[in-house]
């Protein structure tokens, strides 16, 4: 306990062998004599679940790990818990670890809760005496006093998990490794789990926390490691890493929306505008003018469907008339997926009069600051006559995503300045 660190990882890598291939080892000889089992396997036969990951967790710190599915979180967790050994690099863990990876792993269905608790406790490193002394406390914590003599096979899954959690937190570890286990159990129990974790923090225990519940990570963790495909994307303040992760997720979402958008446009171009449909048609109009493309551009002119709140957004509408027009209005509306109108305007409301539209052209509408709140929005675009006769009205022509760097709520994300006076003082965190 001299280093002040509970976990130190230096260039940790973990390589799995790829299953489905016939060879279990490089050669049978290597299985018996060689040094590493996976070393002799070629790159096509292995998967790097973690690559060169370094971080350190101070004692008493609550350390979170985030990342998409398959980013190596669980592998890292198992390495820290000591279940797996790293293929390369150094991983030092200082203190007794209790891993909440699968609660109640090793419970035997046929024997009573009480006996299972004793066995589970011994499995987690307690002596028989210690665990027997803690039994009433564990039963009370799990709320299963009356069921302790029943065989575990009669328990509901919630009871099972509660008992497992109760044992795991009563072994009094120095380092608590928590996987996505808090999601199970009812609300009351989840609350109790969180209280227990809070208690652990208060007692200066180290917590290693893996979760997809970003809010929880933000609430609990001091620092966060952000993994992407087994590599470190960043380590730092929880808030900073979470914002980075959220933006990346949104960018990925934007990428997906863009692909979908292109596909949609291709499909709709051929059909557009169809005969009015009975139920909420996506596109209608008399085809006096047709929107041939609609896309969103960022400040640099690149096509994008994911924006940070406050960024500049340009709507680009390409259209062509079927006959020369003088009576035309370009319009757009922004809606939430729940069909709440966030904004609607057109060239007429903005004081512009149509003069001529006799050949294909492009209309661009720039919003220098798009101060929308975080969320997904739909864009409607339309060309219609001044009296409102639709030439081409296209609902949901674009779908885009707005990401907020902070945790504010609502559709509108205005610029804000707080000021305080009198006996009131706040400081920036």
């Amino acid at each position: 306990m001299t280093t002040g660190f509970a976990v130190v990882a230096e260039g940790v890598s973990k390589r799995y062998r790829r299953w489905g291939r016939s060879r279990a080892f490089g050669t049978l000889k290597s299985a018996f004599l060689g040094r590493g089992l996976a070393e002799a396997l070629g790159p096509s036969e292995t998967v790097d679940a973690l690559w060169n990951v370094s971080f350190s967790v101070a004692q008493g710190e609550t350390f979170g790990v985030i990342g998409a599915n398959g980013s190596g979180k669980s592998t890292l967790l198992k390495l820290v818990a000591g279940i797996f050994k790293p293929t390369a690099g150094r991983l030092a863990v200082d203190g007794k670890v209790s891993a909440l990876i699968e609660l109640g792993a090793g419970f035997h269905p046929e024997i009573s809760g009480r006996e299972n608790v004793v066995i589970n406790g011994v499995m987690l490193g307690l002596t028989r005496k210690e665990i027997e002394r803690k039994l009433p406390e564990i039963a009370a914590y799990a709320g299963l006093e009356e069921f302790m003599d029943q065989p575990v096979k009669t328990y509901s899954s919630g009871m099972y998990v509660r008992l497992g959690f109760a044992v795991a937190v009563h072994v009094d570890p120095d380092i608590l490794v928590v996987d996505e286990v808090l999601a199970v159990g009812d609300e009351a129990f989840s609350r109790r789990c969180l209280d227990t974790i809070g208690e652990f923090r208060a007692r200066g225990k180290t917590i290693f926390f893996v979760s997809h519940a970003l809010g929880l990570v933000e609430e609990l963790c001091d620092r966060v490691l952000y993994l992407e495909q087994g590599r470190t994307k960043g380590t730092g303040e929880a808030r900073e890493m979470l914002a980075a992760y959220r933006l990346d997720v949104a960018a990925g979402e934007g990428e997906r929306l863009k692909t979908e958008h292109v596909k949609d446009q291709d499909e709709l171009r051929e059909a557009a505008p169809p005969a009015p449909e009975a139920e909420r048609p996506r596109r209608w109009g008399d085809r006096s003018a047709v929107i041939t493309a609609c896309r969103l551009l960022d400040a640099s002119g690149a096509e994008r469907y994911s924006f940070r709140s406050g960024e500049s957004v340009t709507v680009e509408i390409e259209a062509s008339p079927s006959r020369p027009l003088t009576d035309f209005v370009f319009g757009m509306g922004v809606y939430t997926p729940e069909d709440v109108c966030v904004h609607g305007s057109n060239t007429e409301t903005d004081g512009l009069n149509g003069e001529r539209f006799d050949a294909p052209g492009t209309a661009r509408l720039t919003l220098p600051r798009c101060d929308l709140g975080a969320g997904t929005y739909l864009l409607d675009v339309a060309i219609h006559s001044r009296r409102g006769t639709p030439y081409d009205y296209w609902r949901g022509a674009c779908r885009f995503h707005v990401e907020s760097p902070t945790r504010d709520a609502g559709l509108w994300r205005p610029e804000r300045n707080w000021a305080f006076s009198g006996g009131l003082r706040l400081s920036r965190s």
């Binding site: 299985a31 279940i83 797996f84 050994k85 090793g106 046929e110 499995m123």
Partner: protein, 269 residues
Amino acid sequence: MLDGLRDLLRHRALVGVLVARELKARYRGSVLGFFWSLLNPLLMLAVYTVVFQLIFPARSPSTSPYALFLFCGLLPWNWLSASLTDASASLVVHGSLLKKVLFPAEVLPTVAVLAQGVHFLLALPVLGLGLVLGAAGVFGPAVAMTPALFQVPLLIVLEGLFLLGAGYFLAGLTVHFRDVKDLLGTGLTLWFFGTPILYTLPDISSPFLRSLLAWNPVAPLFAAWHDALFYGRWVGAGEWARVAAISLLVFTLGSLFFARLRDSYPEAV
């Protein structure tokens, strides 16, 4: 070998509770519970008595009364075969423990061997009863009960050591080659007939076959069981040395093999 024993000592509490769990869980829900451990061998003895007293009369005078002779070899064999079957499957069956909890893998085959060992111990009173009845001449020619029975504890220890080593080896192997599970059933049957349980080695007429079967690593052990239980003879010093050397060697190699593959278990089970 010392490392292996030290690990086992370190985890003795865990092994203890798991063996107890194994036994409790096995008879949970049955009316007679633990009595089955006594009753099963008793029924087995009864069946062999009926078959070999009434249906097939004894053949060789050296193995007469045959029912008792058979019983003396069968009990240690049942321990062996049940242990190795359980041990070889132990890591795969309890894979979730290895994957999800920091769990000392060697405990699992150890528990398999020891739990079966407890069944064996529980069957010994029945064997004792059989020997008393044999001494009274119930099975035919009277069998002498001698102080040679005091050799039994040492035989139990040596067979246990052998089974631990073999159990480790099979458990580790099964993780990577699931084929072992299927091979083991047939293998054990072949091994059973290749072990002096139904016969004694000197009874075999073909010298080639006799020298072939002498290579069976458990042949000296079962000869010693027969000596101690059935013939009431003291096992010779040379025989003891062979049995002990084989058990220690198998235990050491099995532990080494198991330790060598240890890191691969959580990923491969």
